[in-house]
């Protein structure tokens, strides 16, 4: 018999992941669908990884509300699911009179938004906290609830937990048509299959307008704006202890300098408007621009210690605020669109509003008697020597280090390959374990990770992919018999 889902979530990024996770607490038949082969494959894996305090959004907006509430929720979720997070605090620095005014304005906005603990620091106080910053800083806005997180880890943890609690996931399933039908919607996928659902959630990120337009007349467009980044070696990670913003401009929150939860330093983003929806290419001139702009924050960054550049896309909808609504005229079709910064921070809170909207549309929410939280991640390098010794006794594979830069063991990689959502690629293993995330960027460990994936999945090594579908690493010898 054809399954009819209660709710189908389109998009397995942080927004869809949070919604799915909330829904999985109730007695519902739910699923998530994504065109990519894993969760967190879009903007969720390529952003600044910041948990914003909430002084940026205009008071009274959905953005302001969800940012401030989401800030606390991200903290709780990370604690609950062992996701890397640090409430390190953030600073917005000012170097001239205009910027001092901006800092004052942000402070007032933050107070209106009920951001806790905000304080304006003098230049001297700022430099006492962060001695490596530009000595010309005249004042700064300190927000103790600003933080950093591993965004893809949070997203994967939430989707995994939902799957563990019965949610279905359809990855590498690109939605091509949405047709209203009696009591719900028929969702057609590129490969020809059709899914039926009573309620639908559009959390398609960069593609949210396309999904919208499949069932309704277009009333917004996503115009992606690209941001590029530097990720630097851990030997630069100690330059700052907090997220350091420059004063925001029309282009956004500007180039930030921040530690990451893994101990690296991240510098970026810039902004390139009107780029393609799949355009994640970095550009030499843009990267040079980022280096230059970052000097205003800190002149001590050694960019020769860069280990990776990457780019992400902001889902700019042309509207000032997040779009969170039931699509007019489409009963039970909830839309979460234009979730640009502070989208990562806001996502858990947006999910709560999405559930309210679903409920208002008639979805009954009865809590499950038992909500499973079996997520247990072994991270060898975070254990004491005695604990490590114990783990290796239980499973000797925890004693074999595969990724030497990040000290990740074979046991941790095998654990990931046995998790509720089986990672489809070397990069998916990297996002779950951190293997290959370090300074050699998988140079030493990727052949070994590839071998482990092939072994655990029982496939030929040439079938193992790097990231997206068909991103083959090894090519068959032409004509010859394989060795």
């Amino acid at each position: 018999m054809q399954t009819i889902y209660d709710v189908l979530v389109i998009g397995a990024g942080i927004t869809g992941g949070c919604v799915l996770h909330e829904l999985s607490k109730y007695q519902l038949n739910i699923a998530v669908i994504d065109k990519e082969n894993d969760a967190a494959e879009g903007t969720t894996k390529a952003n600044s990884a910041i948990v914003h305090a909430g002084y940026d959004p205009l008071p009274g907006t959905k953005m302001a509300f969800h940012n401030v509430r989401g800030n606390r929720m991200v903290k709780e979720l990370c604690k609950h699911y062992q996701v890397h997070y640090s409430e390190c605090g953030s600073l917005v620095i000012a170097t001239d009179d205009d910027e001092i005014k901006t800092v004052q304005k942000l402070y007032e906005r933050g107070i209106q938004n009920r951001v806790p603990g905000l304080k304006i620091l003098t230049g001297a106080e700022t430099l006492e906290l962060e001695p490596n910053l530009n000595p010309n800083i005249r004042c700064s806005l300190f927000a103790p609830t600003g933080g950093i997180v591993n965004p893809w880890e949070l997203c994967i943890a939430l989707v995994e937990t939902a799957v563990e609690n019965g949610a279905d996931h359809y990855f590498s399933h690109e939605v091509t048509a949405i047709t209203p039908e009696e009591n719900g919607y028929a969702v057609t996928v590129k490969n020809g299959i059709v899914l039926h659902t009573k309620y639908l959630v559009n959390a398609a990120g960069i593609y949210a307008d396309r999904i919208h337009a499949m069932a309704a007349s277009a009333d917004f467009t996503i115009a992606p704006a690209k941001g590029e980044y530097y990720l630097l070696d851990k030997n630069q990670g100690g330059l700052v202890g907090r997220v350091i913003f420059q004063c925001p401009t029309k282009a956004g929150k500007g180039v930030l300098v921040s530690p990451t939860v893994h101990g690296n330093l991240i510098v970026g983003p810039d902004r390139t408007d009107s780029c393609g929806r799949e355009d994640l290419a970095t550009d030499g001139k843009n990267l040079e621009g980022i280096r230059k702009i970052s000097e205003k924050t800190c002149q001590k960054i050694d960019f020769r210690q860069s280990i990776r550049n990457f780019a992400g896309l902001r889902a700019i909808s042309g509207q000032e605020d997040f779009i969170i609504r039931e699509i007019p005229g489409l009963h039970g079709f909830i839309e979460l669109a234009g979730i640009q910064s502070p989208g990562l921070t806001s996502a858990p809170s947006i999910a709560l509003e999405a559930l309210e909207l679903l409920q208002k549309a008639g979805l009954g929410l009865i809590e499950k008697k038992e909500f499973k939280n079996t997520r247990k991640v072994v991270r060898m390098k975070e254990l004491t020597p005695d604990e490590q010794e114990q783990k290796i006794k239980e499973n000797p594979l925890y004693g074999r280090v595969i990724c030497r830069c990040e000290t990740i063991t074979e046991g941790e990689i095998v654990d990931a390959l046995k998790s509720p959502i089986i990672p489809p690629s070397i990069d998916a293993v990297k996002r779950r374990t951190n293997a290959g995330m370090g300074r050699c960027q998988g140079g030493f460990c990727s052949p070994r990770v590839l071998e482990i994936i092939a072994r655990e999945k029982g496939i030929d090594p040439s079938e193992v992919i790097q990231d997206k579908e068909d991103s083959r690493i090894l090519l068959p010898h032409g004509g010859e018999e394989s060795k």
């Binding site: 990720l231 030499g284 280990i307 140079g443 040439s462 579908e469 083959r472 690493i473 010898h477 060795k483």
Partner: protein
């Protein structure tokens, strides 16, 4: 666990150091190797050309490693394979893990650091563009092709003309791939001249000097790269773009000594070599901790790694019975000198002579190498040609060094005819 000498790394440096320590009388020696077998990177270097200096014959990488493994088997040196060192403390405690012994803390009287080096990556040099599959460091590709038996590309562009890149250009060609170009940022190659001839010229692979990859394109797998000429400041010149349709980019853009353990132990690092500052006996700033091979400075030839490591092994054995501390003179890099190893000489420890390894900062024709002390010339040697890609060595006789104090400076003087 207690050992007199613990050698970290079982590649060419660690093997030579351990054998030499044993031959010099040490009887409690342990090698810790992270891979499943000894030999290090030599195991994937299946081409020949190794051993001409050390064994006076031409061997492949695995054969060269095999020679040392045989020598090691005649000693009582202990070996732990598949073992990763996590930390070294300044008390010479080594924290390590493996599947059999679990978490180990090993106390050593002397430590020899022989961890080798790693390859610079795309991220380190910031090549713009997409991030598809098909971008490998040359060494990773070498492992796939030579150790695992898989081809990792069919139409290849090599960026950088370091030795591994040159060797891999030939190797991929022999495996049936088409190598479209070798692209080098600098106006000269960083590889050995013999490799340019035997790996590129012999196979008709064009070498583009003063060029670089300015963009990589491809969504899933590499589809093409854009190569541009660069000016004297190594900046791309607009209008010089060439497009290569390829599925693979191999990077041979430099090697970095792997000194994370060294730094953690608080040992002084030379920013020019990215390796530990060492004395004449390969001892680091931490007494009783020695270093040798590519972890100290990147070598071109394994033969020199073996020689340097034998010295470190013997020095560690000697350290067990006598103090080697003493006043040191520092070797400074003068005109045209990129770095020297050792960086410090304790003259009273030198018996008859000591070697000084160095690299020139640029290509030189007929020139003189001058070692001076306080403005006074100590030594003058003639060179016909020097290049950054070829490590140079000079012998310093003890007699010439006697009585010197303060700083020595090594510099190049160009001889114009």
């Amino acid at each position: 666990m207690n050992y007199d000498i613990v050698v970290i790394g079982g590649g060419p440096a660690g093997l030579a150091a351990a054998v030499s320590a044993w031959d010099s009388g040490a009887r409690s020696v342990l090698i810790l190797e992270r891979d499943k077998e000894l030999g290090g990177i030599l195991n994937q270097c299946i081409h020949n050309g190794f051993g001409l200096h050390y064994f006076k014959e031409e061997l492949t990488g695995p054969e060269y490693a095999g020679r040392f493994i045989e020598l090691l088997q005649q000693t009582g040196v202990d070996v732990k394979l598949d073992t990763m060192v996590l930390h070294i403390t300044d008390k010479k405690e080594i924290h390590a893990v493996n599947t059999v012994d679990g978490y180990m803390i090993i106390h050593a009287k002397a430590i020899i650091l022989a961890m080798g080096c790693r390859e610079r990556t795309r991220g380190a040099i910031g090549i713009p563009g997409d991030r598809p599959a098909g971008i490998f460091t040359a060494g990773t590709a070498q492992r796939y092709v030579n150790m695992e038996g898989y081809l990792c590309g069919k139409r290849v562009v090599v960026l950088g003309s370091g030795d591994i890149g040159l060797i891999m250009a030939r190797r991929m060609t022999l495996e049936g791939a088409e190598v479209l170009a070798c692209v080098e940022l600098m106006p000269y190659s960083n590889g050995l001249n013999r490799n340019i001839v035997q790996c590129l010229n012999d196979y008709g692979i064009p070498l583009y000097l003063s060029h670089t990859i300015t963009k990589i394109e491809g969504k899933r797998r590499v589809e093409r790269v854009i190569v541009s000429k660069v000016d004297e400041n190594r900046r791309p010149i607009p209008g010089t773009e060439m497009e290569f349709n390829c599925d693979t980019v191999l990077l041979s853009v430099g090697l970095i000594p792997e000194n994370e353990l060294t730094r953690e132990a608080g040992i002084t690092i030379d920013p020019r070599t990215n390796g530990a500052v060492v004395f004449e006996n390969m001892e680091t700033s931490l007494s009783g901790v020695f270093a040798c091979g590519n972890v100290v400075h990147v070598h071109d030839l394994v033969d020199f790694v073996s020689a340097e490591s034998a010295k470190a092994g013997a020095s560690a054995a000697a350290y067990l019975s006598r103090n080697t501390d003493g006043p040191a003179v520092e070797v400074k890099n003068g005109n045209g000198i990129g770095y020297t190893v050792p960086q410090k000489l304790r003259l009273e420890n030198i018996e008859k002579f000591t070697e000084l390894y160095f690299r020139a900062r640029q290509v030189y024709g007929e020139s003189a190498l001058v070692l001076s002390c306080g403005g006074k010339e100590v030594l003058r040697l003639h060179r016909e040609r020097m290049a950054p890609g070829e490590m140079e060595k000079i012998i310093l006789p003890k007699a010439k060094l006697a009585g010197l104090t303060g700083e020595l400076t090594l510099s190049v003087e160009e001889e114009t005819l």
